[in-house]
Symmetry: C2
Amino acid sequence: MGGSSETGYAAKHTSSAASQATLNTDKLEEVRKLFTAHLENKGLRKTGERYAILEEIYARSGHFDVEELYVGMKERGLQVSRATVYNTLDLLVEQGLVSKHQFGRNLAQYEKSYGYRQHDHVICTECHKVVEFCDPRIHGIQTMVGELLNFHILHHSLNLYGICGDCRAQAAARSSATPA
Amino acid sequence: MGGSSETGYAAKHTSSAASQATLNTDKLEEVRKLFTAHLENKGLRKTGERYAILEEIYARSGHFDVEELYVGMKERGLQVSRATVYNTLDLLVEQGLVSKHQFGRNLAQYEKSYGYRQHDHVICTECHKVVEFCDPRIHGIQTMVGELLNFHILHHSLNLYGICGDCRAQAAARSSATPA
DNA sequence: ATCTATGCAAAGTTTTTGCAGCACG
DNA sequence: CGTGCTGCAAAAACTTTGCATAGAT
């Protein structure tokens, strides 16, 4: 059982917030349309702020919290208030264009989620690294539990908590450095 | 597809905090011993407050938050401060005698977890009802992902979010009550 | 007797809310 | 034009922290 990823099972992601906006233009366009449709559906207003927030989110990679998003927008010269950020995030989460996670630290983390393969997370409890993975069995569980308990399941969140290889290696190195 | 529970797959639990302490005496004794061992192991003090908190937790059924635990203890005439509750909960979670959950509302929820079958949760996003279920496949996923990504997995948390039958029924009743 | 854990309250974080004014429809 | 959305800041909600004191070892 080598660590070879025959199936592209998972991929690490570091939280670099580079600006690779060019490649994502098409996807952004799709998402804008979906958001517009949602707003019209619910009779909500299509304000510049809402679209600015959506775009900032889709320009980001990886997870982020409200403060990071807010600061990121300020740095790009986009003026919005925190209240609007919270408000719009709720809308986007409700629609499923963004997903919200609550890992250990009680600080909500968000992530864009349209057109990305549904995935779950492994969290290192030592260094707080987050790695993503996919497993098709989860979908089966979701369907089965929904039927059995008569719930209309909309989404799920599976987090595995443990210690990553790096941290275990560091711990081992540290303990082997302490012999008499 | 009847809702019959052939396998005892899941059980609803309401948050009644009845005092059925008599039956749980044996279990409580075990837990006290484990906690004592843990405290001795880490060179921590065995204070009355810590045991009082442990007992309050094991006298409860279902989920609770810090405030509920704190108030519950006050009502029983047990005097502890919130700081000590937080402190002790951390110890218990670390040891695995209590598990901590973060459902949507960022309010940490806790639950006793020694000697109870490992289970996961379905949460109704309308009424916030929580139902528990077990599925053996999750263990398999946990093992597989741990091996593939070289994590030493310690625990997991799977939450399914959706709308329960009751809330769907209510919604249906409401919409059928609005015709001209 | 020592040194840690407790208790209280104050500070810190994160999120929510109220009200005036602007802007979407 | 009217109502909903934004922005600001104040408040709420939850958790953590500092310091004096009581208590476990």
